[in-house]
Symmetry: C2
Subunit: 194 residues, 2 copies
Amino acid sequence: MNKHHKKPEILNVTTIARSRLFNIESVELKFSNGVQRCYERLRPARYESVMIVPVLGDDLLLIREYAVATESYELGFPKGLIDAGEEVLEAANRELMEEVGFAARQFELLTKLTISPAYFSSQMNIVLASDLYPQTGEGDEPEPLIQVRWPIADMMALLQQPDFREARNISALFLAHAVLHDPLRLHNAASRFR
Amino acid sequence: MNKHHKKPEILNVTTIARSRLFNIESVELKFSNGVQRCYERLRPARYESVMIVPVLGDDLLLIREYAVATESYELGFPKGLIDAGEEVLEAANRELMEEVGFAARQFELLTKLTISPAYFSSQMNIVLASDLYPQTGEGDEPEPLIQVRWPIADMMALLQQPDFREARNISALFLAHAVLHDPLRLHNAASRFR
């Protein structure tokens, strides 16, 4: 089950289109069997991001925010880019303060996720935050985020919400569910699933 | 919990950069509070995609495939774009034949996911496929895909594999786990989580 191909050789990488946020690269590859292909990808992401599952008493805290690519309001956990030089949990606490008006005294890193790694290299850390206290931070949202409290006892019902459908949010929900329903609260969420 | 803002008004959409695969748009928005912002997004995706969780006896079938954005081989379920005019389950069966050499007699649509809807509008259907029989299709992979059989009894151990870390794959794994461990096999996976 651990058989691998030898990695393809990268013959050439060229930036072929660019905007303020995005940088599209063309990559010429030679696979170990000699086949050559040219693929496109977005520029390697400079910084990772973080998504926080905040636990306040018996509830989870979520937000509704406008998503311009789908032109819809989407329900999800607070999240954001990690700044240069910032630690993962430091960024988690900052985003928490900016987006839901709380800071946390306790964090648990659940996992790190990719999305569509053929095209994007960004990675998102998923963090469970608890022992919250009110503390606001200055965000740069164009309009106030809509905050949603959701009972932990009913957390898997989020899967039935038509605006809760983003893959990293769904992964975070399942991982947090496993941790919150495990009385041992081990440190590595993944190790619960042996 | 169902409070919504009024949707922002889209003042203008311009294509600002383009390549063979990608099309970057700049979108001028006016939020309902009067604030104006300019965001970037990738062009609305024309077609949805499909990811298949194939059940063969007591195993799941997965593949290892090179991902050029992360420059690594990644473990995941077979997947692909739905062609113009093709039905979701038809595409699921085609990808199954091309990528793992099986067709299926039974399908169950588990959910439809987005990734990062602020930037991308693509949607992926997650399908459980069972009652498989050998049937190959002609794919266009540059090198043979590495096939991996993984015992259903141990399926959550996939979360500990360092090359199984893509958010849609992790969501699919959890959803399939819920279905495969539910003796009732209801039709809507999400409805199991009340």
